[in-house]
Every structure is written in structure tokens, then in C-alpha cells.
Amino acid sequence: MAKGYRYLDPQAVARLSKINLIARSVVEGFISGLHRSPFRGFSVEFAEHREYTPGDNIKDIDWQAYGRTDRYVVKQYQEETNLKAHILLDTSGSMGYKSEESSLSKLEYGSYLAASLAYMMVRQQDSVGLVTFSEKINHFIPPRSTTAHLNVMLKTLETAHSGQATNISRTFHDLAEHIKRRGLIIIISDLFDDAKDVMRGLRHFRFKRHEVILFHIFDRWEIDFPFRRLTDFVDMETNDQLQIDPRFVRDDYMHRIRDFIGAYKRECAGATIEYVQTHTGVPFDLMLHSFLAKRKRLH
């Protein structure tokens, strides 16, 4: 276990140690593992029978089946393989928001989440990589399953900082083209960009047969908007200012945020993307444990 890294909380690690992140869909890998592989024939786990065709190895013929059915059939085996996962962490300016009520900024929360996920993956012999992005890709650490690689990712997370504008959709399109081998894409972002463009990027992942898990991170105050006094709001990405009496816009704002979240929920469900909406007030380990447990039940 890696120690001494800011975003790898020992308590969280302990809590998540008994649960695995298993790919729900088929992933491609070369090492035997937890996940179903599309490659058959070299594994030990029986999958199905198939009619013998010339060219098949004779030793693969199931003679017991021949005795029962008087037909030549060969056994097919499904090979369990290791998972290649990419964790995409949004480090745009908006992810740096931390309300007075919250102890973590969204970026810090996302970093904890990313670190925990990375640790889990490496622990279960899966390869995991890390991508941080804002307007463009800031860091790209390709997936590997070694502990040293985990250390690199954790260090990268520690050095990540927010501050730039967002261009999520372009980043997603670039990565979808860049990642050749299908695997698991874990996105951690507040998605404060044009929702339609973002969804196009997400669908691009799906088009490339990746499984996508989307962690939509908010600060509690972004949802409840509990401001009461006349306030000059400063945009963390553009530094634009807007003086508003929050009492008068609160209802409309909350309505729009609900619509924003609701749109992602609908679109993700339609695109078979697993959508998890949370906020920084929820302990990330609890949230992750709850999510993984639920996922396991459904798997």
C-alpha cells in the first residue's frame, strides 16, 4: 500500500479493501484477472459449445458430447483478463470551488476519489491511468498496474491544481481517439460546459466501446445556493463579476441546476453511461463504497 500521499486516505483504503471494481462490460486484456475477455480458447473457464469446423484443433473436440449427441463439437473457453482503466480528472477553474461549509474543493474531492479508485485498480491487478484536463489535457499517465505507477499517479494528483477554463468535449474527443484499447473510462468532473457537447464526447467513448463511469461532482452550495445577501459573484474560470441579490434568483437558479443534472441523468441513461452525482459534503469513501456495492449487486 502506498503511504504518505495526501489523497490516499488510509481509512478509506481500509474501507474499500474488500471490494473490487469490476468491469460490467467486456474489456480487452492480456493478463488473467477479474474481467471477462473477448478472447477465447486459451482460458480455463468453459464458455459454450460450437460445431467443429475443419481447421479446429482436434484436441478441442468434446468427446463426451460426441458420445451423447453423435456430433462433433468443440469446447470454447472464456478467458478472464485484466482491466485497463483511465481516470479522467477535470482540473478546470470551477473544480477549485470550495464553499464555506465544505472541507474540500471539488478538485480535492475528485483527487481523493481518483486516488482511491487507482489504488483499488492496482490492488486488483488492473491497469489504471490518469488524465488531468481543463482546456486541454494537462497530464496523461498511461495505464499500468504496478505500485510504482500508482505512486506516479498519486504524485501527479498532488501537483494538480485548478484555474483554467474548461473545454471538456474537445478533451473527451481527443482521448476517445487516443485510447485504442477498449476499457473503463472513469470521469470525475463538474461538467460545467455545454451539456450537448459534453454528451457528444461521452458518446464518443461509448462508440469506441469503452465502459464509462461519470462522477458528477458538485459543491453543496452549488446545488442549494444558500446565499442571502447582495453579493458580487466572481467566475472562477473567467473572473467575470456579477452583482446579484441571491434571494431573487435562487429559485430560478436551482431550477436550472436541477434541469442541468436531470439532462445528464437522462442522456447518460440513454447512452448506457453510469452516472453518479454527488457533492463534496458526502464522504468520498462512503460514496464510493455505496456505489461499488450497488454496482456489485447489479453486476
Binding site: R24, G93, S94, M95, Y97, K106, D190, F192, D219, R220, E222, D224, P226, R228, R229, L230, T231, D232, F233, V234, D235, M236, D240, Q241, L242, Q243, I244, D245, R247, F248, V249, R250, D251, D252, Y253, R256, I257, F260, I261, K265, R266, C268, A269, T272, I273, E274, Y275, V276, Q277, T278, H279, G281, V282, L286, M287, S290, F291, K294, R295, L298
Partner: protein
């Protein structure tokens, strides 16, 4: 500037505080500047929400700002103590007319104290309130004849006049009195003019009939009306007394009818007593329902000729003045009737007036049995030398032509209340009659006579009497007796009733009238279209003739009685048509005061007018060796003690600036308000309060409810599976 503001504000310095209206604006600007800066993840949603609500919020905030500024400004104005300055009021002394209602109704007592006494005390308070520098006049609603109200700046004169004033028995016309007060004040050039009226507010004193007919505002000067006395309307009155008897001759029973009316809200029992010549003669116990007139009839026989006076009185109540009503009646030994005819017949029964004279005095000459009517016959030629006013009635019997002198005498006689009875006949020149007596411009008979119809020589052809007006007072006693059934009319003069004051009392089947009445001046003229002989009809031979002639004489000679009663304050005209030169007249009032006046012979009739009839009671007069009397009674419109309220007074009197108060304190407050204007401090504070409350509600309504505390749900996490499961 300061002097200008001082006209409207007690403390104009506080107006500096109006600048505090800017305080909400400044606070708003400071608040905007001090708004905390908060870094927020994205303005994407806030910007859209803000744009959507900004316009509406800007208007609402502007209105709210305006309200708050208004509150500050109004508060400053309120502290400056604004007041509504009295119009036309300037520094300096007051000129006022105190109008004191001394009409009969103010003598009504409240708990043993007359309302007029209260009004006088209040008038003294008013005088004191006006101050020693004021110029004041006192105007009574019912002044005595020589009374003149004059402005004076000597309060002791007004005080003396107030204390010396007394209640009258007359009716007040306060709109007219206030108009008079305005005239007095308009003569004064000083600016601070006001009218202060003290009245019991009795309804009839504020009658629309008394307001000037031009429809203009009666007075633009401030008028303060102080209502004195209670609202109790309990009062009963003798509203009328009339002598209804048919004869004014001694020994004949007379009917004296009184009408009583109670204004009390409940029925009351009363005793009505008839007094004649100062002695109680009869008494009736009656119950008076509220506002229902009750007639009480007494029968009395005067046994001596001469002028008699009497009263019908009820028991004392709150208003004593209307509890007695006087009457006078002149009783004669016999009624004098003058018969005028062209010639006397040598054969008595062939005389044209034989049957008439017999009917008037059936036992003529018998001293033992005296007829109530004494006829005297005179030829037409010497009729002008007769003094017609000595006769109660004059009969023209088959007179051929009436000379202009006699015609003028007859018209004057009837106009002054005499009675004329004209009989047609063979000699009557009908064209001449039409010209002299039936001239439409001045018709004494008011019947256009046509031609003689029928044949006096043929008694087989006749008309019966078919049309009798039994509702007429002259004929009402014959109703149901059928006394005209056997009357046959052989010859008559066709006639057409002309004039609104004329009517046919007895008619024939062909529609021709047999007896025509015409009211002329104060008297009555009757015209028979047939003769008084048996040639033209058998009426003189029938039983109906005597009572009919007696009724006619009593009827036409009754008129003078009506003139024997007048209302308080109304002028009395005493006519002496038979005298040509100025005639001294002596009048003694009920209080025993003697008044001397003289007739004015220059007019149509030699008459004197006496207008000092301010006391109710019996007035006696002496002139030209004759004596007479007339009764003056109070106007019983004053008996109704119902009051007018302020709205009625305002509507009826058309007073522009009228203030009705009911107490001395209210009067002081009103006068102070007139002097100093209406303080608006309370209204401004009230306005500030209302706006402040409205601002609170409006502000609260505008401000959305505070966000709910962040809900502590278990995890605060929302997830959806890849298949859309939550």
C-alpha cells in the same frame, strides 16, 4: 420664504428633514458598494437567472425605494406640523354676525329650561370666544319690527342685546337670516368674516322654500351652526281653530272646530278646552296618536251681539306657545240683507222681491219672533247712496241695468268679503249684464248669459232640477232630503259658466245652470238664472226656497270670519271701502299696547296695514266709530320639533363652508380651526404609518423566503445506473 412656509407649517425648520428622502437611496448605494465578493464556480446559470428577473426586480426595487423615501419625507413634513390654512383668513380681528334663532320652537323646554335660554348662554360664550377686538352684530331670526342689526366693536352692546332678546311666537327662516347676515358682513371690508348661528335645528327653520331661488351658494363665508337643546320631539299643538257655523247671529248655535296634532313618538292623552270671552265653556278628553291630526268640535251659542273672542287650549307641555289658539267672531243681532230692485209694485205679492223678502224674514215686523235676517229694500236709483259694508249680503232682483257707480261699489264690496246674490227676471238686460258683471277680464258673476228659454206663461212645459252639487258647503245640509224634487222651472236664462273660480251648483236637465257661484276677491257672488217670482219657476212657493235662501245668505256673509285670524308676523289689512278720506285706526295688542295708524286712501281701497303682529292673541281695533277684532296665532310649523342634521342643513341652505356643532367645546374647536386652519399632523402620521405598513407587506411579499437549511440526508448522493436506475 420662511413667512411663506409659516402659512402652512407650525415648525417649518423640520422641513429640512425632507432631505432624508435621500437616505434610502444612499443606503441602497452603500449597500451595493459593500456587497461581498464571492468566487463562485460558474456564473453560467446565475447570469441567465439574473437576466430573467432583473427587469421586474428593478421596477419593484424602484417602487420600494420610492416608498421608503416617501416615508422619510412625510415624517419630516409631519414633524413640521402642517396645517390647512383657513381660506381668506388673515392676521387681525374677526368680524362676525351672531345669528340667534328665537323662533317659537326655541321656547320648548328641556328639563324645565327653554332651549332659547341655552342658546343665549352659548351666544355669550361665542362672544367671549371672539374676543374683545372682534366686530360683532347680533341678528335674531325673528326680530321685532324696529330691530336693526348693526356691527359694533363694543361687546357690551352685543351682550346687552343678547341678554335682552326674547323668544318670539313666529317661525324662523334661517337660510334667509343667514343671507341677511352675509349682507351685513359684505358691507364690512375686513377679511376675517364669519357667521355663527345658534339654533335648535328645528326642521322647518331650514326649509328649502326659504332659500334664494337663484340656485347659487347662499354663503361662501364660514358658517358655524351650534345646535342647542335635546332631540326630544315630544309636543302637542292646537294647529287650527275654525268657526264652522252657518250664522253669526245671536242665539244661533255655532260649531267651533279645532285640530290637534301630537309629534310625540307615542300616543298621548290631552284635554282640549274651549274658552269664550275668557271663560271655560266646554272640555273634551282625547287621545292623540303620533303625527295624526285629530279634529275636536265644540258647539256654542253666543247670546249677545258684538265682538267675541275665544281660545281652544290643551294642557301644558314642553312647548307652551302652541297649546292655545285664539279666534274672534263678530256676532250680530240680525244679518242685514239689502234688496235692490228697479221698482216697487203697488200690489205687494206682485213685487219682484216679495217672495225673497218673505223668505228672508217670514214673520217680518213681529217683534216677538225675530228673524235672524233682516232685509231692507232699496230702489236701484238710490242704491249708490247705501253704505254696502253695513250689509252682510246684497240681492239684485230683476234689475234691468246696473249703473257704473253701483257696479263699482258692488265689485269693491264683494272683493272685500261681501256677498252678492243676483236674480234674473223679465226686466234684466242680459247683454248689459254680460258687459258689466260678466266681463271676462273682471267677472263678478263669471257666467256668460245667453237668451231666455222656456215659456213663463205655459206651466205645462217645465224643467225639473236634476243636477245638485250636494258636496258644496252651501248645499251639503240638503243632501238626502229631496227638497228640490217638486221644483219646476218654466223659464230661465241659458248661461255658460266661465272662469276657473266659478261653478254651477244647481243645474237643469239640458245642462243649463240654475245657480252659479263665483269667488271674487274675498267675497262670493251667486247668480240665479231664473227670477225670484213664481212666473219663471215654482221654487218660491216650495219648501226648499226658504232654507235655500237662508243658507245662501249665511254662506255669502260668512267670509269676514276667515279674515279674523292671522299668523304671527303676517300683516293685517283693515279695509274701509266706504270711506274715501284717510281714517285714523287704533289697535290694541294682546299685551295692551296701543298702536295708531292711518288708512291710505290713494289705493284701490282705503285700507291700513298693521304689521306688528309679533304676539299671538286677540287684537282689537277701532276706526270710524266701528270696532272689531282679529286673532293672531303662532305658525304651527314650529310645533314639529324634529331636527335637521348637518347633511340636510348643508343641502338645503346651500352653504359652502358650514360646520354644525352641538356643544360649546366643539364650537371653540371649530372657531380655532377656522382661525388657525386644520392641523394635518395626525393625518400625516397616519399616512406614514399606512405607507410603512404597506412597505413592510410589499417588501415581505417581494422577498422570497429564506433558503431552507441544508438538508442533512444520509449520503446526499444521487446515482443512476447505466440503465437509468436511480
Amino acid at each position: 420664504m420662511g413667512a411663506f412656509l409659516a402659512q402652512f407649517f407650525m415648525n417649518p425648520l423640520f422641513l429640512v428633514g425632507v432631505g432624508s428622502a435621500a437616505v434610502p437611496v444612499v443606503i441602497h448605494l452603500i449597500h451595493r458598494r459593500k456587497a461581498p465578493k464571492v468566487r463562485f464556480s460558474t456564473l453560467r446559470f446565475l447570469r441567465v437567472s439574473n437576466e430573467r428577473t432583473a427587469r421586474r426586480r428593478r421596477l419593484q426595487n424602484l417602487f420600494l425605494l420610492l416608498l421608503r423615501s416617501l416615508i422619510c419625507a412625510l415624517l419630516a413634513i409631519a414633524l413640521a406640523q402642517p396645517f390647512l390654512a383657513a381660506s381668506g383668513w388673515a392676521d387681525g380681528p374677526v368680524t362676525a354676525v351672531i345669528v340667534l334663532d328665537n323662533s317659537m320652537s326655541t321656547s320648548a323646554e328641556d328639563e324645565g329650561r327653554a332651549k332659547f335660554g341655552v342658546a343665549k348662554e352659548t351666544a355669550m360664550d361665542v362672544l367671549r370666544e371672539l374676543g374683545g377686538k372682534a366686530t360683532v352684530a347680533l341678528l335674531l331670526s325673528n326680530p321685532p319690527g324696529d330691530y336693526s342689526a348693526a356691527l359694533t366693536n363694543d361687546p357690551s352692546v352685543i351682550e346687552k342685546n343678547i341678554l335682552g332678546s326674547s323668544v318670539s311666537a313666529g317661525r324662523a327662516s334661517l337660510p334667509a337670516t343667514i343671507a341677511k347676515a352675509r349682507e351685513i358682513l359684505e358691507e364690512s371690508a375686513v377679511p376675517n368674516r364669519q357667521i355663527i348661528a345658534l339654533s335648535d335645528m328645528q326642521k322647518n327653520s331650514w326649509s328649502t322654500a326659504d332659500t334664494p331661488p337663484d340656485g347659487k351658494t347662499l354663503s361662501k363665508m364660514p358658517v358655524v351652526i351650534i345646535g342647542c337643546g335635546s332631540k326630544d320631539t315630544s309636543n302637542a299643538a292646537v294647529t287650527d281653530v275654525a268657526v264652522r257655523a252657518g250664522s253669526r247671529v245671536e242665539g244661533e248655535p255655532m260649531s267651533i272646530e279645532a285640530r290637534l296634532l301630537s309629534f310625540a313618538p307615542k300616543a298621548v292623552s290631552q284635554t282640549a278646552t274651549l274658552y269664550v270671552d275668557g271663560q271655560a265653556r266646554d272640555r273634551r278628553r282625547i287621545t292623540l296618536a303620533p303625527n295624526v291630526p285629530v279634529a275636536v268640535s265644540f258647539t256654542y251659542t253666543f247670546t249677545r251681539p258684538g265682538v267675541h273672542h275665544g281660545q281652544v287650549a290643551i294642557e301644558d307641555d314642553r312647548l307652551k306657545a302652541d297649546n292655545v289658539r285664539s279666534f274672534t267672531v263678530s256676532i250680530q243681532r240680525q244679518l242685514q240683507v239689502l234688496i235692490v230692485q228697479d221698482e216697487k209694485s203697488a200690489v205687494e205679492f206682485m213685487d219682484s222681491s216679495f217672495y225673497l223678502a218673505k223668505a228672508l224674514d217670514p214673520l217680518g215686523g213681529d217683534a216677538a219672533v225675530r228673524s235672524p235676517i233682516r232685509p231692507a229694500r232699496v230702489l236701484t236709483a238710490s242704491a249708490e247712496s247705501e253704505k254696502l259694508s253695513d250689509y252682510d249680503a246684497v240681492c239684485l232682483v230683476d234689475v234691468a241695468r246696473i249703473g257704473p257707480g253701483l257696479a263699482r261699489m258692488l265689485k269693491e264690496y264683494v272683493r272685500e268679503g261681501g256677498g252678492l246674490i243676483v236674480f234674473a227676471g223679465d226686466n234684466a238686460d242680459l247683454r248689459h249684464y254680460n258687459a258689466v258683471l260678466a266681463d271676462p277680464a273682471d267677472a263678478l258673476v263669471a257666467a256668460e248669459l245667453g237668451q231666455v228659454l222656456g215659456n213663463a206663461d205655459d206651466h205645462t212645459q217645465f224643467h225639473s232640477i236634476t243636477d245638485v252639487d250636494y258636496s258644496h258647503p252651501l248645499l251639503e245640509r240638503f243632501k238626502g232630503e229631496n227638497i228640490f224634487n217638486d221644483v219646476r222651472v218654466f223659464q230661465y236664462v241659458s248661461a255658460r259658466v266661465a272662469g276657473r273660480s266659478a261653478a254651477s251648483l244647481i243645474g237643469l236637465p239640458d245642462g243649463s245652470p240654475l245657480l252659479i257661484e263665483n269667488r271674487y276677491g274675498n267675497g262670493t257672488a251667486l247668480m240665479f238664472t231664473c227670477s225670484a217670482t213664481t212666473d219663471w219657476s215654482n221654487l218660491p212657493l216650495k219648501g226648499a226656497f226658504l232654507p235655500l235662501i237662508h243658507e245662501i245668505v249665511h254662506y255669502v256673509s260668512r267670509e269676514e270670519m276667515v279674515k279674523e285670524s292671522y299668523l304671527v308676523g303676517s300683516p293685517v289689512r283693515l279695509a274701509f271701502p266706504e270711506v274715501r278720506e284717510a281714517l285714523p285706526v287704533e289697535i290694541t295688542s294682546p299685551a295692551g299696547d296701543d298702536h295708531k295708524l292711518e288708512t291710505a286712501p290713494g289705493g284701490a281701497v282705503n285700507a291700513a296695514v298693521f304689521d306688528l303682529t309679533d304676539r299671538p292673541g286677540v287684537y282689537s281695533w277701532r276706526a270710524a266709530g266701528r270696532t272689531g277684532a282679529f286673532a293672531v296665532n303662532p305658525d304651527t310649523r314650529e310645533s314639529d320639533l324634529h331636527r335637521s342634521d348637518e347633511a340636510e342643513v348643508r343641502g338645503i341652505s346651500r352653504l359652502e363652508d358650514v360646520h354644525v356643532v352641538s356643544s360649546t367645546d366643539e364650537m371653540r374647536e371649530t372657531l380655532k380651526r377656522l382661525r388657525e386652519g386644520l392641523p394635518l399632523l395626525d393625518y400625516f402620521f397616519l399616512l406614514v404609518l399606512v405607507i410603512a405598513v404597506f412597505e413592510c407587506f410589499f417588501s415581505n411579499w417581494l422577498t422570497p423566503s429564506a433558503p431552507a437549511e441544508v438538508r442533512k440526508n444520509k449520503l446526499g448522493i444521487v446515482t443512476t445506473s447505466a440503465h437509468g436506475e436511480a
